[in-house]
Amino acid sequence: MKIERRELIAAGGLAAFAVGFSQTLGRMLSGLVGDAPKAHNIHGRSAEPEFSVDPATGALRPNPNQQVSYTACLGCTTQCGVRVRVDRASGNVIRVAGNPYSPLSTEPHLPMKASVRDSLVALSRFQDKGLAGRSTACGRGNAAMDQMNSPFRVLTPLKRVGPRNGGQWQPISFEQLVRELVEGGDLFGEGHVEGFAALRDLATPIDPDAPELGPKVNQVALLSSVNDGREPFARRFWNQAYGTLNFVGHGSYCGGAYRSGSGALFGDLKKMPHAKPDLANAEFVLFIGTAPGNAGNPFKRTGTLLAKGRSEGRLEYVVIDPVLTNADNRAAGERGRWVPIRPGTDGALVMGMMRWMFENGRVNTAYLGYPNLNAAEAAGEPSFTNASWLVVAEKGHPREGRFLRGSDIGIAVAEEEKHKDADPYLVQGPDGKPMPADVATGPAPLEAAAPVMVGDRKLAVNTAFELLRESALKLGLAEYAGICGVPEAVITGLADEFTRHGRKACAIAHGGMMAGNGFYNAYAVVTLNALIGNLNWKGGFVVNGGGFKDAGAGPRYELETFPGAVKPKGTPLGRNVPYEKSAEFARRKAAGKAYPARDAWFPNAPGLGTEWFPAMLRGYPYGVKALILWSSNPLYGIAGLRPLVEKALADPKKLPLIVSVDPLINESNAFADYIVPDSLMYESWGWSAPWNGVPTKATTARWPVVEPKAAKTSHAPDAPAIGMETLFIALAQAMKLPGFGPAGLADIEGNRLPLERPEDWYLRGGANVAFGGKAPVGDATDEDLALSGVERLRPLLEATLKPDEWRKVAFLYTRGGRYQPAKEAQDETNPEWQTNRFKNALWLWNDNVGGTKNSLTGKRFTGCATWQPPAFADGTPMRDVHKESDWPLLVVSYKSALQNSYSIATRITSLHPDNPVIVHPEDAARLGLATGDLARIQTPGGEATCRVIVHEGVMRGVLAVEHGYGHRELGARAHTLGDARQPERPDLRAGVNLNDLGLADPTRGNQAIWVDAVSGTSVRNGLPAKLMRI
């Protein structure tokens, strides 16, 4: 089967790839596995089946040449439980499919009591079990393993030769690596570089005039990507043993705006709880800025449930997005629809829907009236909101925008508890006077009748409900429609339908929120759910089941803390704390002008990787002496970062030491001084839990089902492979840090135990998982061990764990994790309620947001969902700066159905080698462009040459760029490692990376990138642009 050129003309269409690579790959593989296997006359070079199952009896016969193991994938952040089939002779992975015990791969998943044998038979033709219990791996998941044998893998420690980003490296020994990192020295002939030992200064303040910044150790910072099940180990080293505060992931340049908007609704802007539609039972779902089944997390589970729901006739859904994706399927007809929208205007659409709902009695005011969980539950509601809580509305009052608290009206509250948890929120009582919200037994008024009397002074108050309603009524429907480009009839239609399904409707967002107003757009989308009261209902808005904790304080091992553990303190590099608590604020206030601060602060955001680079390279709040990049690629992933910082990053005077731990060379660690290899895919350990979208508790076990390929730490016969864990252990031992070494950890009785090898940590974490929950798991049988390949681990399990533990931990590995039974998703006593519920208030008004000020202007932020145009940090609308007449188009990024940000050098690339920019036919006609033409795409931040594809699957006026292309590294540039040169693969540079076109913020002196002013998240949707034919 060949793919015709005309399929290239389709969105998401795939194109045949030049044949050149097939020879490379063929040679590479035959070089690794020896001669090509002899072909069967019918089956050709197809792999031997991993086992056979008698179709009549269900008897299983394993294939002794292959190992089948359950572990975790890392082809995307979903981290599905998968089954990996390994050729025992070569150690190569043949193919990957799903783990039937894992809810991320199977719907419904198999109960854990099923033996491994039964789990394998469940995948076969026997009684059509394999169809009913289908357990899958996606295309990307299957392809991503190609990286294990990639010619671009880093397998030994590398030290830079010549300037940063020069592409020249010297392989060095692990011993030399550890010595140089710890001791420093004149490492590159460029002058002295401080090592980690000298940089670990826990006593001296960074700036004696600004003690709130913390000690100098904070000038060592680690940027990671995602918790792949190994983050607690890395944090144990960097936060607790080494002692730096600065350890942050990729959220602020992933879907952070959505998370922050959700955090506002769920009342926690740091942990940012969120919920997902219960796709297994929902009737109507609005996906706004997210494409279910096209990409996202959990990718497969969402896709499976979406396909099931729409084909069975239960589920209808609408995808509202500037770009058409695989979330649409015309064969499913009107069960699924696509509504194109202008980028960064979702808030207008949603506030329009809310307006219609308020005006047409479609807001569930009965539900909103319950001011606490007890009152709600008594009325049959599994959740509640703060709609009735009173907010200070008095203009100029110091607490304007904050909730009225008990202490404000004279209720006795200890001084140190004022305005904290113990200080009650208030609602209007039956007598018209404020009363604590938590003691109400029934509904409270949603409208504040009169000002509250505080002593003899009147204090204007509003309810959260009133403030949201006022916000929704700010503009008329026609105005909202005009802004977002969605017809008024569609907005009202969506609102109507959304409110016709009781609690079995839901609205959700994700990466499409990454605009210059992303926080408010996201807050608006998720607030829709509160207005129909769908939280915790079956078929509604449901929370994740969570995982079983590995790195906790027991039940078997104390992995949470240790004697001598540091509690890091200070101001985080991303300034996600109140400006008003800084020395700078005090200084400026004393000088008579508290605002503006030198630059933006983000008190309502979590840790911000987006802000790190401008911060560390400009020294605000402070400079950084050493940066560790662990499996992260900020220069590729953060819109606008590369053009802003690439010069400074190449200068060791600005940032003296950059160390990367990564199996590959990417756009960011190409600037590193050292690259340390790490395990990849099925070589790694870890315990991970689903990010969201799985209502039952689930923990996935990751374990090395194949030998890690990286070099060993020494020539000793049992030396482990070099990787994140072995590096950090070696650094800890060299610096004699607590929490590692011969007595690094302890069991729950306090007996000291070694932490000298990765398995010392992960197997004991496994014991915590196995013994956690309501009751410990069962024991793995010898047959389970044999059939799952866990036999390989048996010596380690027996040597590391106690006699009553090892078979239970083995039980987890034989089944690839620990999973609560699928039938426990709903509450046993109340089958319409979810078992795992979010029990705190939903915040229609968030006073952390509404009570804080923009550090550049001193103006208060709005505390509820609202429409605001995309703007720069000081509130200046983007279009005031970059006029439509100059930049008539808007660029958006969209997630690829196939490619992720690091899967470029895999079979995915041959399926889908390029990312032509999608242009609407009307725009294309005006520009004289046709499909296949080359064009120049330009933004105020940069420009690139692209190929265009013209079709109606994009909003007018929008250019859509698929993420995952336009690479400069990961194979796109051949590096020299000692005498060896990597293969030349210029094809891997194909396409455009939208993030290279991101903007600097002119209201921050063009010294920082454009981020959302509240959430600090990077702006990649709605970049002003023009397109020119070339």
């Binding site: 060949k2 031997e48 089946p49 026997f126 059509d128 791996a137 695989n326």
Partner: protein, 250 residues
């Protein structure tokens, strides 16, 4: 796929239908004859596949699994999901996505068999059309003859190659790789001769909705589809497809 000449037996297409079809290769989909339950007295099984297009999410899990299971060379495919952005005429939703999983149709009247000069390609008693690599001379007549463009010459082996329904797995009591890993659950594999089996039950339940590709070519494919025709007809008449408040709501 090769060029798809408008088939002579295709029903007349209205202008709006043509507009809707823009961007889609011309293919016809029409009701298939219900396959006979038992085709050969000596055949215990008659393997077939049903693809419920409504469930496909275009993730290419099948494509990649097949490549890895069968060591398919770079640039060739035994199965593949064609994915199209389709302009919708007379509809408010301006465009839609259409996915079409494709593979060898394991025809009961396979045009690839008679053209083989060395008798290398044949239909097994269980319905699976295969190539005997020991006989194949790589002349590619079969590649030309296949109306579904399901075959290619494997340039590593110089033999004709195509989907075998993963016969090596099916013979071992397992499912084809693509079916096993189909995320949307679109692909159903089974035995036409097993009335209690999932495949047969779904085919029987879907009846008139079941279609095959290019029925007019007389190949009697044993890959069936649900969701092929409705999508065409439903939009052709130009009903509003963008979501609107329903008149039926009370």
């Amino acid at each position: 796929m090769k060029d798809h000449n408008p088939p002579t037996a295709a029903p007349a297409t209205s202008p709006s239908r043509r507009a809707f079809l823009r961007g889609i290769p011309v293919l016809t989909a029409a009701a298939a004859m219900a396959p006979a339950p038992v085709l050969a007295a000596d055949a215990t099984h008659h393997w077939a596949m049903l693809v419920d297009v409504r469930k496909c999410i275009g993730c290419q899990a099948c494509t990649v699994a097949c490549i890895q299971e069968n060591a398919v060379p770079e640039g060739s495919f035994r199965t593949f999901v064609s994915t199209y952005s389709v302009k919708l005429a007379d509809a408010e939703q301006p465009a839609g996505t259409y996915m079409l999983p494709r593979l060898c149709n394991h025809c009961d009247q396979p045009p690839c068999v008679p053209v083989c000069p060395v008798g290398a390609t044949f239909k097994r008693a269980d319905g699976i059309v295969v190539v005997d690599g020991d006989r194949c001379v790589g002349c590619a007549y079969c590649v030309q003859a296949c109306p579904y463009d399901a075959r290619f010459i494997n340039h590593d082996t110089d033999k004709a190659e195509k989907c075998t329904f993963c016969a090596h797995r099916v013979d071992a009591g397992l499912l084809p790789a693509c079916v096993e890993t189909c995320v949307g659950g679109a692909r159903i594999f089974g035995d036409l001769n097993d009335p209690a089996g999932e495949l047969r039950r779904r085919l029987d339940a879907a009846k008139a909705e079941v279609k095959v590709l290019k029925p007019e070519s007389g190949t009697e494919p044993r890959v069936f589809y649900i969701g092929l025709d409705e999508r065409f007809q439903g939009r052709v008449e130009g009903q509003g497809t963008l979501w609107q408040p329903r008149a039926t709501h009370g």
